[in-house]
Symmetry: C2
Subunit: 236 residues, 2 copies
């Protein structure tokens, strides 16, 4: 398997919907599969972004923390970065950018990652708040999240694009996380306006889906009555 | 990645629906990912079953052929066999067996493989017929398949179970292929009655989905108007 063409995923997005939020992989284990990624902690403990092998958590109070190798997660994506330049862009909105990237990349039917470094004229993020067992469902968590906004901020946005065919395993379309260069601001991106930035791109031919088979609650859960796709698109 | 807990898949089941049937991986490449598997050839050229690293094709005339390393496929599953005994069973139907396996394995939310060796009191298979470009859709192919039945036959059945969450990428539920010990009979299994056999089982924690990113027709296809799940369950 080619190291730079594989997107590794621990957990499947669907398990967040009924609140199967046990941390089933440690950060130490996850980092064996890449150096760049996104995710969340046990109980939906904040928003994670991994840059150059270093894992950062934006918690519900908006603080940016570096997490340890023993930090556990129910869901994360990671890959080995080898991005290629795609475009230098100025003054574009999130929607315009997503559209341009899909059109430039011609890769709507596979997984890819996008990295944007530059200055954002404004950016709106959220960070989810950890719940304790019995964990919140995804809908309950969404009502306990914090929203943050910042103007004129320099930083890095990491995004994964997943094809419609895999909606439910991943978020179909784009899923962006952000960290500012000063490590004072970040989170799961809800909206942004890019002032000026470099957009780069990395195509995957392999989606390596790892499931928490040792978690009895996951293995015994009946997903048939969960509205997976509906709940994900409401919350994400 | 643990060698014996990974199910590798080339192509995604959805691409068969609109007839994206180009052979996008050779058997030689596929065999780098396992020794046991199932699949189909370019244009839906018969039913494949791989046992102990040897790939057999049951063609639409019912003949069993050993295929070469240069044989190409749009879709295949393969893994490294390390099955554990699950049960010795007598006189069970396909439906009973599927139900018992799901109940014994407690693995409805992950991928696993089942291998049955024994005597089948009757078995009904089909083999699809190759089409040339422009390839048939899955529905058109289904109307050009051959059906075979055999009584009292000794052989091996290889099955993959996929969770409902991955329906469309794989066939949710069981997908069985068969080869008789005398190599005179086999195919995609439509129905069977097991007279007496050993059922063994192998659990996967990883589903490694490889996509044909170098096939322009796949990459540029608009899947939004294809009835993926409906067509798969009519045809399979």
């Amino acid at each position: 398997m080619a190291k730079h063409t594989t997107l590794y995923q621990h957990g499947t997005l669907a398990l967040l919907v009924p609140g199967l939020l046990k941390g089933t992989m440690t950060m130490g284990e996850l980092l064996k599969h890449g150096d760049t990624g996104i995710g969340t902690g046990e109980g939906l403990d904040g928003e994670l972004i991994i840059l150059d092998g270093k894992p950062y958590q934006i918690d519900a109070s908006g603080r940016v923390n570096v997490v340890s190798n023993s930090f556990t997660m129910p869901f994360a994506n990671i890959h080995y970065a080898r991005y290629s330049p795609l475009a230098e862009l100025e003054n574009v909105s999130q929607d315009d950018l997503n559209e341009q990237i899909v059109s430039l990349s011609k890769a709507e039917n596979t997984f890819f990652s996008v990295k944007i470094t530059g200055t954002f004229s404004n950016i709106k993020t959220r960070a989810v708040r950890k719940s304790e067992p019995p964990f919140y469902t995804l809908a309950q968590t969404a009502s306990h999240q914090s929203i943050f906004t910042r103007d004129q901020v320099d930083g890095t946005l990491i995004s994964y694009y997943s094809p419609e065919l895999f909606d439910g395993a991943a978020v179909a379309g784009f899923h962006h996380h952000f960290l500012s260069n000063d490590h004072q601001f970040g989170g799961h991106v809800l909206d942004f306006q890019l002032d000026k930035g470099d957009v780069s791109y990395q195509l995957f031919d392999t989606f390596e889906q790892h499931l928490p088979v040792n978690d009895k609650e996951y293995m015994q859960h009946d997903f048939s009555s969960d509205d997976i796709v509906g709940s994900i698109h409401t919350a994400e």
